[in-house]
């Protein structure tokens, strides 16, 4: 499996806000609580202030509306016809409302400033926590989750959550307060009319739901078509050169056109329903107004429920200001549900079990004392030792780090059902070079992934300097191993920084020395800015061979006692490889060296060549011994000889 690891196609973050579907969410209440808890934890005071601000804003707006409502009747009409009108009551009223307005402006300013800090801050914390958590996850997690999906947590999901925190929640509070206060006033004014209004609200909600479900059905279809089209685009753009070489332009255009038209169709439907929602709700609100006016008029004129005309007028104003926030709330629901779906995915990652590490044996700097015994040192001595604490007799022993690796009847499978490696036994002494050969999928890479505990074995034991690797702290274990992986990965940064990744405190001279060792110095110097050339997009501006040379330099600078090279020179031409090999051999003198390669010239001088087939060791020995044996190795080797 590991050897067949293919770069997962990154579908890229989906277009924002296009996920109109309403995915099923289990236990939305708990999710909401957890999500809110996240922002309340750090911003409790700010939230309290925000809520106060929202109250203040609603109150001030209400005062403003009241003032306008009474402006004419209470202030202007009494002055009419008056020879010497007294403007002072109006002046006072205006002064009063001006204060409220001022307060309102201040409140809305405070609220929007605070919301930015809260929303951006929460997002930052969430992002940081998510990243930190992600770094602790075992390799298995990354094997089983598409990289595009993980990426979309950081882009889409966090963004919808931010929108919910910064827009939906304040809007919800605002509308909620307005709805409740209006509802109370309506009930006080007249109950039958309130019932009518509520009935209309029910119709509005129903309509919203109906259109919403239609819309989400088409949004789903749109997502599907978009996915299909994106897949097609991704595929043909990757293979565009092949399309050219085979003059296949017309066929590929025909296929694209079909998918493009499909998407256009479903996108049209989805957008249509989303666009219709607003007008329908607004007009239902108007309808509600007319019905209330007519039935209220009848009630008032017949005098059945004691409704006065003045009350009806006020009621109608309330009816008007009732449907708007209801509309807003129903709009917010959709985005809240989308945010919850995102939160669900984010918290799923947060709840993943991190890599377990029960190890207690540590790697420490050591120094030899007068009696030749190892002692722990606080300085970097260049001599390393395993600090092994024995619980039984409460003693601590130190053991020199040498790089002796033993596989003792190891079985391994990525799942318990299917074993990939069977009964692997091998000994690697310091100074030895051990090579693994075999067909794709034979389990070569898997073996090396067990030494550094990317995966844990099912049965048997792996010992490092005689210590069971399970007892060694993972970080210390990995620090003592240098690995050049099959897929070369470089980071955004300068060439210098990329090599220094192997040893963060390396001086510039050390970096250059490592690059020379890996035979990378030559091409690095020819790059536009030499060692300071910026690499972007996984070193996209370098050839595969150059990237491999950098990866080797990165491992060389770490100067580990055990080095694992997994197809590390596969893209380097044979002449350069010979030079690299010479450098590596010098570096690895006295150290343990594991090599996986399919080029014979790379493995020929190994102390032990291990031939793997379907997860089992079928042959082992030096090159000469294996040729003598006339087994699988001989076959592979002479297959070549036959061709000559």
């Amino acid at each position: 499996m590991a050897e067949e690891r293919k770069p997962k196609v990154n579908q890229g973050p989906g277009p924002r806000g296009m996920r109109g579907s309403r995915p099923k969410i289990e236990n939305p209440g708990r999710l909401l609580k957890r999500m809110l808890g996240y922002t309340f934890k750090d911003y409790a005071i700010q939230w309290v202030v925000v809520v106060i601000c929202i109250f203040t804003t609603v109150l001030c707006t209400l005062q403003g509306t009241l003032f306008i409502g009474t402006l004419i009747d209470d202030y202007i009409v009494p002055m009419l016809g008056n020879q010497n009108p007294d403007f002072s009551p109006l002046a006072w009223a205006i002064a009063r409302v001006a204060c409220f307005y001022g307060l309102g402006v201040a409140a809305s300013f405070t609220q929007s400033r605070l919301m930015i800090v809260i929303a951006q801050g929460t997002m930052k914390h969430l992002r940081d926590d998510l990243f930190e958590k992600m770094e602790t996850l075992p390799i298995k997690y990354f094997d089983t989750h598409a990289h595009g999906d993980i990426m979309s947590l950081y882009t889409n999901d966090i963004d919808t959550m931010r929108q919910m925190i910064s827009q939906s929640i304040p809007q919800f509070l605002n509308s909620g307060i307005t709805v409740v206060s209006t509802l109370v006033s309506m009930i006080v004014l007249d109950i039958p009319l309130t019932v009518i209004t509520l009935l209309m609200v029910a119709v509005m909600i129903l309509a919203a739901k109906k259109i919403g479900s239609q819309s989400s059905r088409f949004f789903l279809a749109q997502q599907k078509d978009l996915g299909k089209l994106n897949g097609c685009i991704e595929e043909t753009m990757t293979g565009q050169k092949v399309v050219k070489v085979f003059c296949h332009e017309e066929e590929s255009l025909a296929q694209f056109n079909e998918l493009n038209d499909q998407l256009c169709d479903s996108a049209y439907r989805a957008n249509k329903f989303a666009n219709i929602m607003g007008p329908v709700n607004a007009q239902l609100g108007n309808l509600s107004y007319v019905i209330c006016a007519v039935s209220g008029g009848i009630l008032a004129i017949t005098g059945v429920s004691g409704l006065t005309l003045g009350n009806l007028a006020s009621f109608l104003t309330l009816n008007k200001s009732f449907s708007m926030p209801i509309n807003q709330i129903s709009m917010q629901f959709n985005s809240i549900i989308m945010a919850l779906a995102g939160a669900d995915r984010i918290f799923k990652l947060m709840d993943e079990t991190p890599e377990v590490d029960d190890g207690y044996v540590e790697l420490v700097n050591a120094v030899r004392n007068d009696r030749g015994k190892l002692e722990e040192s606080t300085e970097r001595t260049g001599l390393w030792a395993w600090k092994h604490y024995h619980k039984a007799d409460d003693t601590t022993t130190y053991q020199e780090l040498r790089g002796d690796v033993v596989f003792d009847h190891v079985d391994f499978g990525y799942t318990d059902e299917k074993m990939i490696l069977h009964d692997i036994v091998l000994y690697a002494k310091p100074g030895q070079k051990i090579a693994f050969v075999g067909a794709t999928g034979a389990g070569k890479t898997t073996i090396t992934n067990l030494i550094n505990r990317f995966y844990d074995i099912q049965d048997g034991k792996i010992r490092y300097d005689g210590i069971n690797v399970n007892k060694i702290k993972k970080n210390d274990l990995r620090r003592s191993l240098g690995i050049v992986l099959q897929d070369t990965h470089l980071f955004t940064g300068t060439v210098m920084e990329n090599i220094r990744y192997g040893k963060l405190d390396a001086t510039n001279e050390e970096v250059v020395r490592a690059a020379m060792l890996a035979n990378a110095d030559g091409f690095i110097r020819r790059l536009p800015d030499g060692y300071n050339t910026m690499l972007r997009g996984d070193g996209a501006n370098l050839s595969q061979g150059q990237r491999q040379l950098l990866a080797i330099a990165r491992a060389a600078i770490a100067d580990p006692p055990v080095l694992i090279l997994d197809e590390a020179t596969s893209s380097i031409d044979t002449r350069t490889e010979k030079l690299v090999q010479r450098g590596m051999d010098a570096l690895m003198k006295g150290r343990t060296n594991f090599v996986i390669a399919h080029r014979l010239s790379t493995v020929k001088n190994s102390d032990c060549i291990i031939v793997l087939e379907q997860g089992r060791i079928i042959e082992r020995g030096t090159h000469d011994q294996l040729i003598e044996q006339k087994g699988k190795y001989y076959q592979l080797y002479t297959g070549n000889a036959m061709a000559q």
């Binding site: 277009p15 109006l90 400033r113 293979g239 050169k241 996108a267 957008n271 007519v294 031409d573």
Partner: protein, 578 residues
Amino acid sequence: MLKTLGAQIKEFKAASAVTPVFMIAEVVMEMIIPLLMASIIDDGVNKGDMKHIYLVGALMILAAILSLSFGIGGGVFGAKASTGFARNLRKSMYENIQTFSFANIDKFSTSGLVTRLTTDVTNMQNAYQMILRMAMRAPFSLIIAMCMSFYISPRLASIYLIAVVILACILGVIVTNATKHFTQAFPKYDDLNESVQENVSAIRVVKAYVREDHENKKFKRASENLYKIFCKAEGIVAWNAPVMNFTVYTCIILISWIGAHLVVQNELTTGQLMSLLTYCMNILMNLMMLSMIFVMITMSSASAKRICEVLTEKPDLADPADPVHEVRDGSIRFENVSFSYKKGAGDPVLKNIDLDIRSGETIGIIGGTGSAKSSLVNLVSRLYDVTEGRLLVGGVDVRDYDMEALRNQVAVVLQNNVLFSGTILENLRWGDKEATEEACRHACELACADEFIQRMPEGYNTFIEQGGTNVSGGQKQRLCIARALLKKPRILILDDSTSAVDTATDAKIRKAFAEEIPGTTKLIIAQRVSSVEHADRIIVMNEGQVDGFGTHEELLANNEIYRDVYESQTSGSGDFDE
């Protein structure tokens, strides 16, 4: 830029034109309805006139129905126009990309093209829909409300005019400032996401070097920076609402105070005063809306620019006026050919190449990484044009051929092999649409692919996943060779196409070539000496120049590089992978 994009509206011009009309009609209704509402209260309820309530109520329902139909019309046509526009954009870009030469493709990069066709188009679709539905509606509504105010009382309305001018200035300052910060912030945001992406795909490297803490620190730093930039940018936008509120409130207070005086002096009726107050909100809200639209448009302009780049890109290779359609034979002649990827920039990749290859010859090409082996063969099927000198295929300059005719006769198996999702047969038929299953099988036998295809559960109908993930590297290469063979080309180019195939199979393929297609000229690029040593002649490339050209024995005798490579691989360069 606008012209290029505008040309893509095509058949959706009508829908695009109708949408703003509907939106304006809806605005008119939106202005009438409050008047009707007020009339119900003032003339109906307050006077106890049921008849008036019925009448105006009916009118209002009518207005509501009209408004609803306009709203729906605007929504439907807006959706139609914007999704159609997006479709046309994608289609035109895709069509143009099909005409791109290799040099054009190199310029954009695969991921660049994918983003343009997907995310950027979606951005444009949303922006276009908003422009159609809002960009006309908001100013229209604003102008109407303004006119109405002036009609009622020019003196009071001038307060609005002053307010609008002041507000427009302030909003303008806010928006330009904010966009400046946002345009800085978005690339930072992309960088952060890129670093996440890097960590996800390189998690093994991070863990192998125990660099989790290092990465965390790096990420936190970037994240903190982003937080600060966004807080700053949004902090500027946060002024919008208070400034807006302040202006509205000031207007209300001024209108109330001055209006009251005017009413008392009998220069204004109370009803007119109320209407003025209603329009106040309307005018300033629309101004706000305009500023938002402006922000959106500036933000999507980056996408628009990127799309236009693809739409206006001209393919740098063109068919000649009077093209040759027949490739006479498989001979190839390089006459003093020099080539560089970017014209006039830096050292040429190929320098003064003179080669004469006879039809039917098998030519091996060998050389170190970066010695321009691939560049050399890419010129033969005119994937790039030579910078100097000329290249003849079948005795005719490649630039005089019809490109499709040339490429059908020169089959290339590229270094980056790509199979497409579909069955094996479908993939093979890329070489020849009409090929029978028989012919496909024969090609696969030559390429030594038949044996593993037969072992597959569904044989030739086995489905290949996107990117060919369900076949191994060696199998993929053999399928690609078979696909090229089906073209029955006069020249066959293999660019390191058997690197993942084991040596024995490699030898078998070469033997089949020699026996079955002796008339075809074969150019074989390889890393392994064993792959080329039996060729009729071998080209040794070094730093863009031909270092040696001759038979294996000749080169061994007098070419240092060749001898060096040979010695480093002698006594076998066996491959243990399949």
